[in-house]
């Protein structure tokens, strides 16, 4: 041991200088060999071999899209499923087609529905904000576009959460999974959004489906990260205490880890929604319907007024979504903290039992109502889809 340590130091110290020197030498040699080759600027219509081969790939994919088994049974299926799902959500809230429940009640009806949802998950203040925001959007004449944007955002978020929350839980429980997915998530988040629109269209064509896929790729990482973080930051003692009482793995997860991490997970969902909204706008470049398209079109004709108007609608949507989800997560915390304080107060007045039960019923019923609403939406959506 005593001899190894200095030896290692001797080995490492000159190595660093050697590496730098080697890099410099290598660089000089390459410069001498490759000088003037493939480094000149391209002419206007000139293509390199790389461009050509990629375009050939594109053509090949285009030709074999409906015959190649990888496309037939994988990419096309994904495109179809995501496209259908997005279409269902769009049909529910954006397109005033017959058959769906909401278009029948008109855009004010939709405003009322969203307001009520905000009230159910958050509070009256936020519900008011939702109503005001949506009415502003409607009065701007951008209702259809806004709802398309919202529909795409929601479908991307729902699909993203379907994968990212379980993945986040897994990463929260397993160090190895965490190590593996962290660079992947870094990659998903740091890659400029424009860059992967092109390869996506290669596989999924353009339109709402590939826009949703692009969006969910961009929006999933925060939910994964924050879910994993929430699970990881449950105090070790709490987890150990649960185990020491004989919890199974499933019980530890559902009764200890998830409830403790709930707030962080909701925060992750909030971040995912915000990321999705911004990406859906950019996805207008690959033919995503909605406000983004309005902005892109208006910018192409230098129609600043229209672009600004649509931009404003996006901001309003962003504010509404952010406030509603933030307030929803804060409310979970508030119920936890202030609920019992009120009970203690009531206890003194001797009305503890009934009041508590009433409060519990209130909490439960609003949750149930929400569930009913969600079910109703899903059912009507399913009808639409069929």
């Amino acid at each position: 041991m005593a001899t190894v340590a200095p030896l290692r130091a001797v080995l490492i110290r000159p190595a660093r200088g050697m590496v730098v020197a080697a890099v410099l030498v290598g660089w000089l040699v390459l410069w001498l060999i490759l000088r003037g080759i493939n480094t000149l600027p391209l002419g206007a219509a000139q293509l390199t071999d790389l461009h050509r081969s990629l375009n050939q790939l594109n053509d090949a994919i285009g030709a074999s899209r409906d015959t190649n088994p990888i496309f037939l049974y994988f990419f096309n299926v994904i495109r179809l499923v995501v496209g259908e799902f997005t279409g269902v959500i769009q049909a529910i809230i954006a397109q005033p087609a017959f058959g769906g429940p909401i278009p029948l009640i008109g855009w004010l009806g939709a405003v009322a529905l969203f307001t009520w949802i905000s009230y159910a998950v958050a509070n009256a203040k936020v519900a008011l904000l939702t109503a005001a925001g949506l009415i502003v959007v409607g009065l701007q004449g951008l209702w259809q576009e806004s709802m398309d944007t919202l529909a795409l955002t929601l479908s991307a978020v729902i699909i993203a959460l379907l994968f990212s929350i379980p993945l986040g839980i897994w990463a929260g429980l397993s160090d190895r999974v965490n190590r593996i997915i962290t660079p992947v998530l870094d990659f998903m988040q740091t890659m400029p959004t424009f860059v992967y629109l092109a390869p996506l269209t290669l596989f999924f064509l353009i339109g709402p489906a590939s826009a949703t896929i692009a969006t969910l790729i961009y929006a999933a990482p925060p939910a994964v990260r924050l879910t994993a973080h929430g699970i990881r930051s449950v105090p070790h003692d709490t987890r150990e205490a649960g185990e020491s009482l004989g919890s199974t793995t499933g019980q530890t997860l559902t009764k200890i880890l998830l409830p403790s991490a709930k707030r962080t997970i909701v925060l992750g969902i909030n971040q995912t929604i915000m990321a999705a909204l911004s990406m859906v706008t950019i996805a207008a470049l690959i033919d995503a319907p909605g406000l983004g398209k309005t902005v892109v079109k208006a910018l192409q004709t230098l129609d600043v007024g229209t672009a600004f108007n649509a931009g404003l609608a996006i901001v309003v949507l962003a504010i509404v979504l952010d406030r509603v989800t933030t307030a929803a997560s804060a409310r979970a915390e508030a119920v936890r903290r202030h609920g019992p304080a009120r009970e203690l107060f009531l206890e003194k007045r001797g009305g503890k039992q009934t009041e508590t039960i009433a409060r519990m019923e209130l909490g439960d019923s609003s949750r149930i109502k929400l569930k009913i609403a969600a079910n109703g939406a899903a059912q009507s959506g399913a009808k639409d889809g069929i």
Binding site: E240, L245, G246, R337, A341
Partner: protein, 361 residues
Amino acid sequence: MAAPTEQVTGGGRARDEGSGPVISVRELWKVFGTKADQVARSAELRALPRRELLARTGCTAAVSDVGFEVSPGEVFVVMGLSGSGKSTLVRCLTRLIEPTSGEIVFEGQDILHCDAKQLRELRRHKFSMVFQHFGLLPHRRVIDNVAYGLEISGTPKAQRLKRAGEVIDLVGLSGYERSYPDQLSGGMQQRVGLARALAGDPDVLFFDEPFSALDPLIRRDMQTEVIRLHHEVGKTMVFITHDLSEALKLGDRILIMRDGRMVQMGTGDELVGAPADDYVRDFVRDVPRANVLTLKWIMRPPRPEDPLDGPELSPDVVVREATRAVLAADKPVKVVSNGNLLGMVGDEEILAVVAGSESGA
């Protein structure tokens, strides 16, 4: 202080008769590191001190060759400074940390060979643990925290809430059933932890430095509380602490650990009266000896000139209790056990301890 300890000790000893140990640990090893198995198997590596082992293999032996037995109803204290492996040891006993090698027999069942299901059953019904930082579930009310263990083992709701209510009463938290943990003080939170551990009516309670995070006054309350509970419910307890006075106050027997190894195991007066080495001697230096030592530690052999008509005392009487009697008697006190004269205690011997302890304190 001494009186309840005596009662507890008496209660504990009464249970000893006729039954084997509840927990019996033999040659227990816990080695952290990639070559852990290798270390546990090699006699040469096992003999190395902790630091050399780390240098040679990169492994840390948190628990090295520990063995002891805990009798039913006993309060067994494991004491050591931080890093001595005591918390790892108690976690090995419940397999919250998987021991590297050794044997742990709990009520005749070899814990190390239990499968996950058996282990879960043991944790649900046979032993439970109280943690240093309480480990309460912040999203659950006190009563639901206490009922957690019963909930996961499938006890019907009405029944588990009833039982939780009972243990909450037992630990003196009545009226706080519907509070949330963060609305309670540290001491009250640990009472919840205690109630939770008691809810499943286990045979053995493990305490992992349960009162270290509490301030001194609350700590004393909680110690008294544990003594009271032990007296009332008579559970076997394994108690981890770094505080010698806590160990002396609660423990029937004390195991002192250092660097993962056992240094000395014995009753409080044995540790104070006959420390095994300088480490233990250092530990017990500041202990008020009069409160811990019994007459058998300070008595001198009877001399021919001793008058034998003085008062008699048992060798297990604590010095402090005997002080008044010895000083009041005009003749040396005889220390007698089962009719045999063991030795004599005079003013000199008593004063040596009392004065010594005062100057020491």
